[in-house]
Structure formats: structure tokens, C-alpha cells
């Protein structure tokens, strides 16, 4: 490798000496992994199972007039509690989807009760700071106000981060499509990053779920991302790598997405999906819309690039309900 690093070396043909070196590295690491897993986890039935298994918790509000807050708490409890994701003294950043200045009932934005419950759980888990950050599409003041995020921040003491130019920094995305792109810095400066999207219809990518929520994590010419929406979505999802994804499907927008604007676009699903596998979470949520995960471009691509699995049934699954 030359001094300039990885950007140029792919243009050089690999030499024989290098290929032997790489072979040694690879085989060595394989041997080492095998040895370690062998010692630590006995017996080890299969190679795949030796990795830590991803989980998924599904919460369903069944009773009439259930509390969204309680459902959220139960979902996290069943996943091992918020302490599993948030350590004492962490700076937690929550990325809801509050891109549109719409009233709460229009399902264009993350349900404020879910947001509030998550903020409170993080605070209880000992987070030093809980921040809510989103680079909105409509004016941020109006989005935060109408979606209830501002009120959540007022009531819980969470910090609401407004998008502004000094918080956008050009970074290397290392994506297949996106190279250098301005990123909303607070999301990068988090110890724990919680993705808290709302499940919605979208006219180009069919649905906007967890992975597509990261379009609200960047700045710049975002509208140009739509020219290759699936790959852009996956590139960003790979870049941000949230600790955990909680998809809010309490009510979902089934058409006219992503902005909606009419109650007739909204369907009640009373569901929350929590997973540390972003692809699995999206795959499960897509079923709420009656879609096959395999038919969604961004899920297929995400699987291909190894971000997770769309076969969520193989995950460590749990279901709770209130």
C-alpha cells in the first residue's frame, strides 16, 4: 500500500508477494477466530451461531386505550432493558423522523409518546445527555413544534438539536454510491445512537423505514439522492450504524407518503419493532404494509452488502403486548 492509503491502491495490480501475505493474514485470522470461539463457547455447533445473535422484539398494543409509553417500556424490557444499550454517562442521540411539519395524527412523524418513553428510558439508564436530532425537510422549528418533539424536550429535559450549517461536516461515507457528503455531526458524536423512525409509504423507495431515516442525518443536495435511492439509503445506513432501531408503527402512513396530510392516509397498527439488525427491522415493518421484504430494493441491497438479514425469523425473536 502506498502512503496515500486505500484510495489509490485499488488501481494497482496486486503483486504475488502481496497476495501471499494476504493469504497468510486471512488464514491466520480464521485460525485465531476458530480457536477463540472454540475455547470460549463450548460446544460450538456451527460457525454462524458462534457470532452474537441479533434480536428482535415486537410490541403490540392490543387493549383498548393502551398506553404507548407502557408498550415502549415493555419492548425495551423484553430486549434486556435499556441498560443493554446505554451505559452510565453515555451521550445518547435519538434520531426520530420528524421531517415534515404535520400534526401528530397524520403519521408523517415519529409518535411523540414513543419518543418521550425512549428519552426517559435512556435517562433512567444513566445517560449523561439525551439528544434528539434530525435534519428536517420543512423548517425545523415548525417540524419540532408540530410533531411534539419540542414538547418532549421541554418535559424530559432532553436536548433538541436544530440543524444548522456549522453542525454539518463533510465526511467520507465510504459508500458504493456516496463518497464525501456533509453529515449532521451530533449523530456521529454519540456513544449510543438510537434510530427511531416512523413507518411510512414512500413514492420512490416504496417505504421509508429505519434505514431510509438516515437521509435525515445528512445535509447537502439531498434531493439528488433519489436518483439512486436504494443504494444511497444503504450507504447511509452502513455509515451511521445505530446501536438499535425502534420502528414506530403505532400508526402508519399507507399512501401519499412520505408527507401525507390526510387522516385517510393513516392506518392504526399499534406496533413497535425493536432490533439491533437494521435490515431485519425494516423487513418486519414492511410486512405491516403487506409488502414482501425481498421486493424492496434497499432491503435487497442491504442484505447484499452485509448490513443484516431480511430473514428476521432466524433472529432471537420475542413478542410482547399490552
Amino acid at each position: 500500500m502506498n502512503r496515500k492509503g486505500e484510495y489509490t491502491d485499488k488501481y494497482h495490480p496486486i503483486t504475488r508477494r502481496e497476495s501471499i501475505k494476504k493469504l497468510f493474514c486471512l488464514s491466520g485470522s480464521f485460525a485465531l477466530t476458530g480457536a477463540l470461539t472454540g475455547f470460549s463457547r463450548m460446544p460450538s455447533p456451527a460457525w454462524a451461531d458462534s457470532q452474537k445473535k441479533a434480536f428482535m422484539v415486537e410490541g403490540l398494543g392490543q387493549t383498548e386505550g393502551y398506553a404507548v409509553k407502557e408498550l415502549t417500556q415493555k419492548v425495551f424490557e423484553s430486549a434486556g432493558g435499556m441498560k443493554r444499550f446505554v451505559s452510565k454517562g453515555d451521550v445518547v442521540v435519538i434520531k426520530p423522523n420528524i421531517s415534515w411539519a404535520r400534526p401528530v395524527q397524520m403519521a408523517a412523524t415519529t409518535h411523540p409518546e414513543v419518543l418521550r418513553a425512549v428519552v426517559e428510558l435512556c435517562q433512567d439508564a444513566g445517560a449523561k445527555k439525551v439528544r434528539i436530532a434530525d435534519n428536517t425537510i420543512h423548517d425545523a422549528r415548525r417540524c419540532f413544534s408540530l410533531s411534539g418533539a419540542r414538547m418532549v424536550a421541554e418535559k424530559t429535559g432532553a436536548e433538541l438539536i436544530f440543524p444548522r450549517s456549522s453542525l454539518m461536516r463533510k465526511m467520507k461515507i465510504h459508500g458504493h454510491r456516496l463518497d464525501v457528503w456533509p453529515v449532521f455531526v451530533p449523530l456521529i458524536e454519540a456513544d449510543t445512537l438510537i434510530n427511531l423512525p416512523v413507518a411510512k409509504h414512500h413514492s420512490l423507495s416504496t417505504l421509508t423505514l429505519g434505514m431510509k431515516n438516515w437521509i435525515g442525518g445528512v445535509d447537502g443536495r439531498r434531493s439528488a439522492l433519489h436518483q439512486d435511492i436504494h443504494q444511497s439509503t444503504v450507504d447511509l445506513a452502513q455509515f451511521f450504524k445505530p446501536t438499535v432501531t425502534l420502528i414506530d408503527a403505532i400508526r402508519i402512513m399507507t399512501r401519499n407518503g412520505p408527507s401525507g396530510g390526510s387522516l385517510s392516509d393513516v392506518a392504526e397498527k399499534n406496533t413497535l419493532i425493536l432490533s439491533d439488525d437494521p435490515v431485519a427491522a425494516d423487513a418486519r415493518a414492511s410486512q405491516l404494509f403487506g409488502k414482501k421484504p425481498g421486493n424492496l430494493g434497499f432491503i435487497r441491497l442491504a442484505k447484499k452488502w452485509g448490513l443484516g438479514t431480511d430473514d428476521f425469523l432466524r433472529l432471537d425473536q420475542k413478542k410482547v403486548s399490552v
Binding site: A101, S145, M151, A224, Q227, G260
Partner: protein
């Protein structure tokens, strides 16, 4: 009361009102900490409005109230405040100019700090001149014009002038400078500088979030600086020579009870009174005191070492000396006032064609009525959260110079926002609710696709950005799946955007977000606006 106390009372009052003006100016925007109670959105409709009475100073200016009344036959909210100021003038003379007017206070300040004129030159500059009649000309021209349906008062009303200059050019200008500084600090490699960049959090609530910018703001700024500079040649040049509100109050001061008493016997002709006179009102004993020019600043009273000058209430009421208006100012004002409204129609903007770019804010009155009420104060432009409302330059013709219109490449009209109407001091933009805006719906124009530029239409790339952002439900922009030939000859599967003119409200978010930068591939024109019967496309 002693002269010293009066002068200090004036200074305190001027400072107070100047700061109140600045405070309300800064508050004329949506604050970051505004919120609605989401648990109540199901039961009660809540629109976001500003917390502070940002129109207060416009209500205080009787010229705004009177011109709206004679021109648009509207009694504006807070009209009584303006009447109160007139009443005060009847009692005390142009005390509004001396004690209250924030623009006057600024002129006073600029003239007073290290005066550029010393001694005799200052005395000479403070002598009354014929040029002070210009303001009567301006007043008559504006009011006659307003009576005939062209309300241009706001161009020179001191409150509108001051507000517009600060809101559209001074604050954004300083803000741009500060933001450049903070961005540089934020991108610095030195950690301390990074922390300093958070100063932006304090600066942006004052200078505007996200870099506000306005069409032609440089011109507004230059004019403002020039008017300020003139104070160095003649103190309070604007108040003496140009201000139509000063002229109006000067005329009312004819019956003022507070009068200047001169004692020629005590006078030693030291001219200290003239040297400190703000209004060039001939305070020196031996000359006729010009009531209409006196700004009631009490400087002469304070300056006189011989106690030859004093203020006292004259009872019974009587007429003060005639204001020096001059026949030419009256005749000229009449001619100008009558001709402007008709000259303004010569370009046919009102009767024949209207500029497709003249997209008025949602809730604007029909163009005729709009021009009778709009003060061109810039309050709607300052309050707009997306910066879409900009002053016109040529779009509305001569008559509509600096009136608000929407430039969709600067911002877009947010579907659930009615802030511009809620702050308009005269009701040129109606105060509509969000429910009305969406329900009627209030259209401000229509969008159309430029197929040659559009990415899917031209086969260059798939894109649905306009449709994605379209805020109506169902969407006014709809898509049709189609296979097109890409420039390289391959077939490309795309979704082609179409506009449903019946649903389109002309909000312009499609134009604003279109990835075809420069001249977007989907654009909004004013045709189809609900305020006009003529400017329509569909039957």
C-alpha cells in the same frame, strides 16, 4: 420641571422605545422554543403564531392607520394607538418624534455622537431652510395617492422604512458575517475554536436561523446607510426634510398646547439654542418659533444659559404659528399624488397582464386591494420561516415596488404555515387559519413541469423529488410509470411527474427541492391564484 430632567426623560424614553423596537423586530420570527401541546392537537386546532405584539410600532404610526383607512377603507387593528399619538401631538406637539420614534432616536444618536459640524457650521446647519418643505410635499403626494388607491406610504413611513432596512438588510448582513465566522471556527482544527463556534446558538436567534437573504437587499441597505449619513451634514436630516409622519404630526402641532416661550430681553444671542436644536425650528428669541418643525427635544431649553427659553402649557387653546408648508409643496404634492396611481397603471400590470413571477403570500387580497393596504414594511418577509417571501423589484411594476412576493428558489410556502398573514399590520395579507388555507384551499399559483429539464422526462435519471415533497393530500403531483430512452440508448424505467392543476396550491416546495439546480425543472407561476378572477388557467 427643570430642563435637565426633561432632557434626561427624553433620552430614557428614546432609548426605551429604540430597544423595544429592536426587541420586537428580533422577535418577528418563529422562535426555536415554540411548541404546541401534542396531546391536544386532536381536540383543538392550534396554529403557530408569534408570542410578541410585533405590529405594535406600525399601530403606533398614525400614517399607517390613516393611509389604510383612506386607501383600503380598513380600520386596522390597533388604529386607536395611532389616534392616541395624534391626540398626544395635539397636546404636546411632535413629541412622538422627540420621545418615541425609534427611527428618530437613531438619527438623533447618529447626529449626536461626535458631531461632524462644529461651532458656527453647526448653527448654520440648524437654521431652518426651504428644503424642510419637502416633507409636506411627500406627505401630500403619499396621502393623495393613497386616496386614489395606490398606497405607497410604507416606502417612506419611518417605522416601515426602519423595519424594512433592519429586517431585510442590516440583520441578515451582520448575520452572514457572523455565520461565516462561526463556520470557520467550527471547521478549525483547534479545539477551543470549535467550542467558540457554539456562539452561533446565541447569534442565530437574533440574526436569523439559516442565513436569511432577500432580493435587492443591498439596495435597501445602501439607502439606509445614505439616510444615516445625511445626519452628518444636517442633524436629523430625515426627520426635518423627508419624514411624512413628521409632516403629518407637524400639521397637527398647530393646535399644540405645549408652547415655547421666548424672552428676548434675556437673550444674549449666543445661539447655543440653535446649535443644539434637532428640528431646525428657530428656537432663538427674535425669530418666529416653528411649531411644526419642533421635535420637542427640550435641547434649547436645556442649552440656554440665560433662561430666555422655556416651555409652558398655553391656556386657552389657540393656534400656533402656521406651518411653513409652501404653495409649491401643496401643488406639487397634489400633482404627484394624482399622477402616481395612474402612471402606475400604464404598465398594464393591474388590468392586462400580471407577471408570472408575482406570487403573493397566501391570503393576500386581490392585487387592487393589496396595493391599497400593503405597507412594504417587510414584516411578512422577516417572519417567514423559509425565507421565501422577498421584496419585489420589477415583478409588481412601479406601483408594487418592494411589496412581498414569493421566490421559490429561496424557499417555499409551507403547507401548514400562516405566519405571514398573522403578522401583517394592515391586513393586506389576511389572517387565515391553517384549516382555511388547506381547506378552501388558498392557492398562490400553479406549478408546471419543464419536460426538457426534468430528469425522468429527459431520460437522464429516475427522480420523484417533486412528488415526494408535494404537501397536498392526495398529491397534486402524480407519477406514471414509463420506459424512456436514456441518453446512452438504453431503456430506463422511470416515474414521470404530472401536475394536477386542480389540486396544486402553488406552494413551490417542488420547485425549491427540485435537484435540477439553477432553473428547476418544475416551476411555479402566479396563474391560478385564488385571489384573482382573471389570472386563472382552468375554467
Amino acid at each position: 420641571m427643570k430642563a435637565k430632567h426633561l432632557v434626561w426623560a427624553r433620552r430614557i424614553s428614546q432609548t426605551f422605545f429604540l430597544f423595544l423596537f429592536l426587541f420586537l423586530l428580533i422577535e418577528s420570527r418563529l422562535p426555536e422554543d415554540t411548541f404546541v401541546d401534542y396531546s391536544q392537537v386532536f381536540s383543538a386546532e392550534q396554529d403557530l403564531t408569534l408570542q410578541q405584539p410585533v405590529t405594535f410600532f406600525f399601530e403606533l404610526s398614525p400614517l399607517v392607520g390613516i393611509s389604510s383607512w383612506v386607501s383600503g377603507h380598513q380600520i386596522i387593528n390597533g388604529f386607536l394607538w395611532g389616534l392616541g399619538v395624534l391626540g398626544l401631538t395635539v397636546l404636546l406637539g411632535r413629541v412622538f418624534c422627540g420621545f418615541i420614534c425609534p427611527f428618530g432616536a437613531l438619527h438623533h444618536l447618529v447626529s449626536w455622537i461626535k458631531p461632524s459640524l462644529k461651532g458656527d457650521r453647526m448653527i448654520k446647519a440648524n437654521r431652518k431652510t426651504q428644503s424642510q418643505r419637502i416633507k409636506y410635499f411627500v406627505l401630500i403626494a403619499l396621502l393623495v395617492g393613497a386616496l386614489l388607491g395606490l398606497n405607497m406610504v410604507g416606502l417612506l413611513d419611518p417605522i416601515s422604512f426602519f423595519f424594512r432596512s433592519l429586517a431585510l438588510s442590516v440583520l441578515p448582513g451582520v448575520g452572514i458575517g457572523l455565520r461565516a465566522l462561526f463556520d470557520a471556527l467550527a471547521n478549525s482544527d483547534i479545539k477551543v475554536f470549535n467550542y467558540l463556534s457554539y456562539g452561533e446558538v446565541m447569534a442565530s436567534p437574533i440574526f436569523g436561523y439559516s442565513d436569511p437573504a432577500y432580493q435587492g437587499a443591498w439596495f435597501i441597505g445602501i439607502l439606509f446607510l445614505m439616510i444615516l449619513f445625511l445626519n452628518r451634514i444636517r442633524p436629523r436630516f430625515w426627520c426635518r426634510t423627508l419624514c411624512p409622519l413628521g409632516a403629518l404630526l407637524g400639521l397637527c402641532a398647530r393646535v399644540s398646547l405645549l408652547r415655547l416661550k421666548k424672552d428676548p430681553d434675556k437673550c444674549t444671542n449666543c445661539h447655543l439654542c440653535v446649535k443644539s436644536c434637532q428640528g431646525a425650528a428657530s428656537p432663538i428669541p427674535g425669530e418666529k418659533w416653528e411649531t411644526a418643525e419642533c421635535l420637542v427635544c427640550f435641547n434649547c431649553f436645556h442649552a440656554c444659559p440665560e433662561n430666555a427659553i422655556s416651555f409652558s402649557f398655553g391656556w386657552p387653546p389657540g393656534l400656533n404659528p402656521r406651518p411653513d408648508v409652501g404653495r409649491r409643496a401643496v401643488l406639487g404634492g397634489l400633482v404627484a399624488g394624482i399622477s402616481f396611481p395612474f402612471l402606475g397603471r400604464l404598465d398594464g400590470q393591474l388590468s392586462r397582464v400580471s407577471d408570472p413571477k408575482l406570487i403573493r403570500p397566501p391570503g393576500s387580497l386581490p392585487e387592487d386591494d393589496f396595493l391599497t393596504l400593503c405597507q412594504r414594511c417587510g414584516l411578512c418577509m422577516k417572519a417567514c420561516p423559509t425565507n421565501v417571501i422577498n421584496p419585489t423589484f420589477t415583478e409588481a411594476g412601479m406601483t408594487g415596488f418592494w411589496t412581498p412576493h414569493l421566490i421559490m428558489t429561496m424557499g417555499y410556502c409551507e403547507h401548514t404555515c400562516t405566519l405571514c398573514g398573522s403578522v401583517c399590520p394592515t391586513g393586506a395579507i389576511e389572517n387565515i387559519s391553517v384549516k382555511e388555507k388547506i381547506g378552501r384551499p388558498i392557492k398562490i399559483g400553479s406549478s408546471y413541469v419543464d419536460r426538457g429539464r426534468c430528469l425522468p422526462w429527459s431520460g437522464n435519471a429516475p427522480c420523484i423529488v417533486c412528488e415526494e415533497h408535494c404537501p397536498t393530500s392526495p398529491k397534486a403531483i402524480y407519477l406514471k410509470e414509463e420506459r424512456v430512452t436514456a441518453p446512452d440508448g438504453k431503456t430506463l424505467s422511470v416515474q414521470l411527474p404530472f401536475v394536477d392543476l386542480r389540486r396544486c396550491t402553488g406552494c413551490g416546495i417542488c420547485e425549491n427541492k427540485c435537484p435540477v439546480s439553477g432553473l428547476p425543472a418544475i416551476r411555479v407561476i402566479a396563474a391560478g391564484e385564488s385571489r384573482s378572477l382573471r389570472n386563472q388557467i382552468l375554467l
